[in-house]
Symmetry: C2
Subunit: 326 residues, 2 copies
């Protein structure tokens, strides 16, 4: 029997176990044009926290009691559509469950790039596209720029670090704790700040005495303020995520916001889905780097572990992409 | 004997009278290529507060004990340069004094537009350019947009309101108190928020139920937060000034900053001097509107009044352009 995680209650602040409920799905016969997919990998991502609130946002809220959604990689096990056949590996958005059924158009065969299937949930999937387009299109980063990346050990940040290095930029990452700092350094970052070791604004000033041209924001709050404090004239900030505020009703406090004016800083929020039409560009450029890019995964085993994997995103529990393996 | 205001001490927070000292200037004979100008009008502007701090910024700090600088309109009374002759009206940056001397190149004849000379310190000068370029170039506002302008009764804001209306936009202004609100309404604003009457975020939601496309920020803080709360997808914010933070070491608290992401908001800081090379474009477009644009001035009389005029900028003491008449 197929099972799925539903949202049992809307979290107040950080999600806890009782906000999730595992339910058995009714078995359904396939209609014409539909397929059945056994999920092999599920993605958990910080943006899902936003969908747990009942507020308008760029994606609709999860409904209470309904199976949640999210990126997943699976294998077609039954097909009533000529475009897909049993054995095909596909990516789709019906995650948080062990088996997914739906119209064939909701499932895409994996691109022909020689990386493990689960990479299409990370560096070659939505987090990778987020990093790629945020850095190159939103922040318009170019060779010679000094780039600051927060959450640099995460799925998005670790890709930003490596793409920036591959394109000739100086890169300063931030991460929490010695192990993550070391890993970000191994990705090629020129300097890495341990944000748990002291104020970010001070550490960034030491790492980038001439200031930064680009900030890739995954965090908000003290990292954003530090980036404002050290922005050079004409700096561009790609605002991708504020993991600190997803769970938190406290206002963001910025001491250096007015620097935006004198330094003509541009802050631009973005959503990766706006760049989906350019996916083939992304795959082409990334395929050329596939052999040199490093990936790390933090893997939780079994469908039962999905809420724990998700909750650990907010306590720095992952290096690289957080995944659930079925 | 010519006199000038100097900075006696760097203000802690809001400037007070003892931060300023009026001194007598040594009389100087003109060298070749130099002119002497009797100032008729002095400008006081919020950005000058930043120059009173001893920190790097987009303009260098005022030196303690030296005459301060600022926009001024004067009449040439002595000239050793063929480009200028006695009686010429000129604009220049040697304000805060009753008489200015220097190389002729530091003084520009007023453009041939039929407005009173002091308008070149306001709507046809730096504040006007700030509003014009901030709205049209930085925020890329266009006909049909809904535009929110803070400090809409000020020199910059009142120009933004009128240019926006002239270009076919819907305009919501904010101002403090019934008299200013009424004046902003008389400029053509579709709605005016009295920020002293209640929370801006609530009032803006009522004035713009479908949200805003553009925010012209003269204020920061609660106005910026309200604009973030009501930004539509693709909104552009021109960040021009944060009068609230010039005197204040408190951090800006933003509850709605993360809206930047989902709504792909762009916040762009800017400095009007970047647009000086486009001054002739500005004069041409503005000259065509000169007969319909309204201007209001708050005038303090005499050089002695300059510090009081300046300090009143921070307590909402002006409607339209704040000027000192000599």
């Amino acid at each position: 029997m197929a099972r799925a995680w539903t949202l049992a209650s809307r979290p107040a602040g950080t999600p806890v176990a009782k906000d999730f409920a595992l339910v058995t799905l009714d078995s359904v016969a396939l209609g014409d044009g539909e397929v059945r997919v056994a999920n092999r990998w599920l993605s958990v991502d910080p943006y899902m926290r936003g969908r747990m609130n009942d507020v308008k946002s760029y994606v609709p809220p999860f409904a209470i009691g309904a199976p949640m959604e999210g990126g997943a990689i699976g294998e077609v096990i039954e097909s009533r559509d000529p475009a897909l056949k049993p054995g095909d590996l596909v990516q789709h958005m019906l995650g948080w469950r062990d088996e997914a059924t739906g119209p064939a158009g909701a499932f895409s065969k994996l691109p022909a790039i020689d990386v493990p299937p689960q990479a299409f949930l990370g560096q070659f999937g939505m987090p990778g596209m987020t990093g790629y387009w945020g850095l190159l299109a939103v922040a318009e980063a170019k060779a010679g720029d000094t780039v600051f990346v927060s959450a640099a050990a995460g799925a998005v940040g670790s890709t930003v670090v490596q793409i920036a290095k591959a394109k000739g930029m100086t890169v300063i990452g931030s991460a929490g704790g010695a192990a993550k700092v070391e890993w970000v350094r191994s990705l090629g970052a020129d300097a890495v700040i341990d944000y748990k070791a002291g104020p970010v604004v001070k550490a960034l000033g030491e790492a980038a005495p001439k200031g930064i041209d680009v900030y890739f924001d995954n965090v908000g709050s003290d990292h954003l303020d530090a980036a404002l404090a050290h922005a050079r004239v004409g700096a561009r900030f790609a605002i991708c995520g504020m993991i600190d505020v997803y769970n938190d009703a406290k206002p963001t406090e910025l001491k250096y916001l007015a620097r935006l004016i004198g330094n003509r800083v541009r802050m631009q929020g973005f959503i990766v889905t706006d760049f989906f039409p350019r996916a083939s560009e992304f795959y082409r450029d990334m395929a050329g780097m596939a052999n040199t890019l490093k990936r790390e995964e933090t893997v939780h085993d079994g469908l039962e572990a999905a809420p724990a994997a998700f909750m650990a995103l907010f306590t720095g529990g992952n290096t690289g992409k957080m995944l659930v393996k079925l």
